[in-house]
Symmetry: C2
């Protein structure tokens, strides 16, 4: 009975082109990544979803440490008075803060915000910790969850609570802080492209779209299979906007007291949403091997027959010893076809079937999740063959997504072209730089500016909206 | 100037026997593990303190996964109605809950608790996730912070917010749940003894001291250098106490709907407090190599001289490549003596000095932090010598602490002996099992029952307090 329920479950994924949004929800829930909870707008990450996050964390954390950052843990509650110290910041975040007003039975004299982000508490502590130029740079990061009281929510994309990392760094000079912000954007691009196989547009946000309190916000923007944009990571240069009100100062070599220059940068469990909408297909998830909880699923075929289970276990141990994440599915109460469906739904990159005939031939029958193609790998030196396949899948998923991204990005020369293009993808346009045109494009097309690319390559001299002199190339897209 | 400040700083550690509590605070702050924050009772974990936690986490997490547990993430806010479903539980936790009452400008219809622990939300989700016996056991864990609105706080030992892991598991039978609770206590014992070099007393808590809502609570109890007990980890068998009100049921093979049997278990950043108070000395921390952020500090001596820095860097790379966590301290603005003090304060297990004379002799001059003893290691095959020293330090710290624990544990036969013994350590006593005697001992001596050892070895037949028939051996101690 349980099986029949599940079977029906697996088969009911809404086709992408019929209803992309429903397809997404179907995949998220049926692949067992998360579940809804009784807490408004908050999700629970189930083991399979959380394991993906752990793998993303490990890849990101290693890169943070390699670039000289250290992890810390800050309080999750932030006194209201701290939030109010930077005017733009409080204006941006106050409407979506969850407030703690009571401790036990006692009413608090000051409300405490469940952190929506931690600039204010980091600055408070940095002001204590930094004295001299010798303490700089101070480059800390924390892994935690934050809370933003969202009106409407979608799993991984927008939830009241979400899991993320937030790096906060202090530097002696404006140049150094600026370099740090760019460096971390580069780390995010690498994380997206090399680890998640998600190609991105790197660039600078407009004044309108930048973070509340920042001088400059950089972003990496991904393209989902419905052509919409998903902001995958941001990196901010604050200058001294926070260090002045929070008095984060250092004594320089010249004996003068100076304000520190600050950055912050973050990626979140949103990246899991990006993974799904970049790589998923009609059969469910397709996971890049580097973040797949199981890179290989191993299925014994006709495993009541002598020698099958022994051989499969031998292969299992060989792959495990080679550092490959492998799952042996030896359930005897579901059919192989059932298992195929389930592991395809869960996006396992490589499936190996081993039955009596395979063993006789000295091979494993393989199926890659990225392409519809069966092949065999010799059981001798199986780990090498598997690793090569995984490497190829990792690259191929990127290539597929990159081709899609290029096909769905077009230069537009007028509002008509822009309006049409943002229905299917990104519009590259010339822009005068005025907020007015940005607002007008949004009003007419519901597309927003994504970012201003570092490499400009202008293709005209007139603003796509007002026709006046263009100052920059910019990407427009509808966004999550 | 900065140096002079710091120098004075390092030297001002209150002697342990003068004021143990002040010694603890001095070490915690001066070794740069944490700092106080403007949030009542909440601390910030600084990089050095957080790195110790990361290393503890890695060791624990590996053991959880090896015993078949998976990580998940649950919402940090829990609706008040969920907390109220289990009577003992809400009674135990309600007085120390931080309440969220507003989201943005909107007053919530139901208050939300910042989780003090997560039994209630886990049970809510398990009720959705578990259908049949095939789904069992379900063994999940989460790493997070929790909040308990404490009146008086001490770094790592008792803070409003603290970081921990909480495992929550569901089983088909009472026996299985009971085995799980014991298994995880065993994991905690191993974590304390093999990783943290902290010997512990394993046993069962009394009815009075058990967790709010549990049938049985097991604990591992450590002994600090002032003879006081510190509860290092707990593991609870809930039976069906939560699964009944939360309706966590499964369809068994026999077609009947049955309640699941539950456990939960946790260790927290308290373990860092235990580390300090078990191993620290007059010069500061002494860290077991397995959780030392730096296992080795490498100091170049007279490093303006030709070849010194090159050689030291070569040794640095050799050790790093061998997987040893090594810090090269090549600051040229502080003296070697200064560096000695600082790294001793921070508890680095092994110091290597390399100067022109050492290089000429083909050795490194070494100092172990656990014993006051200098020796040399040949530069050829230095990684092997270092690893052997680290292994020995790890074992020796345990041996020192274990000797202390044994010396400070005594059998007591009457209240006078008990009262005396709990001033310096643990009292092993015979107990009638009645709450009345437990309360009386606490009232008269301020010592509490720690736990009932698994191996009993009774040494009398009369209760230490009332003189009536004794039912069990039990440990009493004053506790953090």
């Amino acid at each position: 009975m349980a099986n029949d329920n599940k079977k029906a479950f697996v088969e009911h994924i809404t086709p992408r082109d019929e209803n992309f949004s429903q397809w997404y929800t179907d995949v998220v829930t049926q692949a067992d990544l998360m579940d809804y909870t009784p807490v408004r707008g908050s999700m629970a990450l189930k083991p399979y979803g959380y394991r993906i996050w752990e793998l993303i964390q490990a890849e990101a954390d290693r890169r943070f440490k390699d670039t000289g950052h250290e992890n810390v843990a800050m309080p999750m509650l932030i006194p209201e008075s701290l939030l109010q110290k930077e005017a733009d910041h409080v204006e941006g975040f106050a409407p979506e803060v969850a407030w703690v007003t009571h401790g036990g039975t006692e009413k608090l004299t000051e409300r405490l915000a469940v952190r929506p982000t931690s600039e204010t508490i980091f600055c408070t502590m940095y002001a204590k910790w930094i004295q001299s130029y010798r303490d700089l740079p101070m480059k800390y990061n924390q892994w935690c969850s934050v809370m933003r009281w969202e009106k409407s929510t979608r799993p991984f994309l927008r939830t009241s609570e979400f899991w993320w990392q937030e790096g906060h760094t202090m530097h002696a000079t404006a140049e150094e802080a600026h370099e740090e912000a760019l460096q971390m954007l580069h780390v995010y691009r690498e994380l997206c492209e090399d680890v998640l196989s998600i190609p991105v547009f790197s660039g600078q946000k407009t004044e309108k779209e930048k973070f509340a309190g920042a001088n400059i916000t950089y972003s990496v923007e991904a393209m989902m299979q419905d052509g919409k944009a998903l902001q995958a990571g941001t990196s901010h240069d604050f200058g001294t906007n926070f260090s002045e009100p929070f008095e984060v100062q250092y004594l320089d070599k010249d004996g003068k007291l100076k304000y520190c220059h600050e950055t912050s940068w973050g990626v979140s469990t949103r990246l899991i949403g990006a993974l799904i909408m970049t790589h998923g297909d009609e059969r469910g998830l397709r996971l890049p091997p580097k973040v797949a909880p199981y890179q290989v699923v191993l299925l014994p075929i006709a495993f009541h027959k002598e020698g099958v289970l022994e051989k499969v276990k031998e292969v299992y141990n060989t792959l495990k010893d080679a550092g490959i994440r492998v799952k042996l599915d030896d359930r005897d109460y579901v059919s192989p076809g059932w298992k195929f469906n389930e592991w395809e739904l869960k996006g396992v990159p490589l499936r190996l079937e081993i039955g009596p005939r395979d063993i006789a031939n000295g091979v494993a029958t393989c199926a890659r999740r990225d392409v519809n193609e069966k092949f065999t790998l010799p059981l001798d030196n199986i780990a090498k063959g598997v690793q090569e396949s995984l490497d190829d899948i990792q690259k191929n998923l990127f290539a597929i997504a990159d081709k899609f991204k290029q096909e769905r990005t077009k230069d537009v020369h007028n509002m008509q072209e822009l309006e049409q293009q943002v229905n299917t993808g990104y519009a590259r346009a010339m822009w005068c730089g005025e907020r007015e045109c940005e607002d007008k494009v949004k009003e007419l097309t519901s597309a927003t500016t994504r970012n201003i690319p570092f490499t400009q390559e202008p293709f005209g001299d007139k603003c796509v909206c007002c026709g006046k002199e263009a100052k920059t190339v910019i990407y427009f897209a509808k966004a999550y």
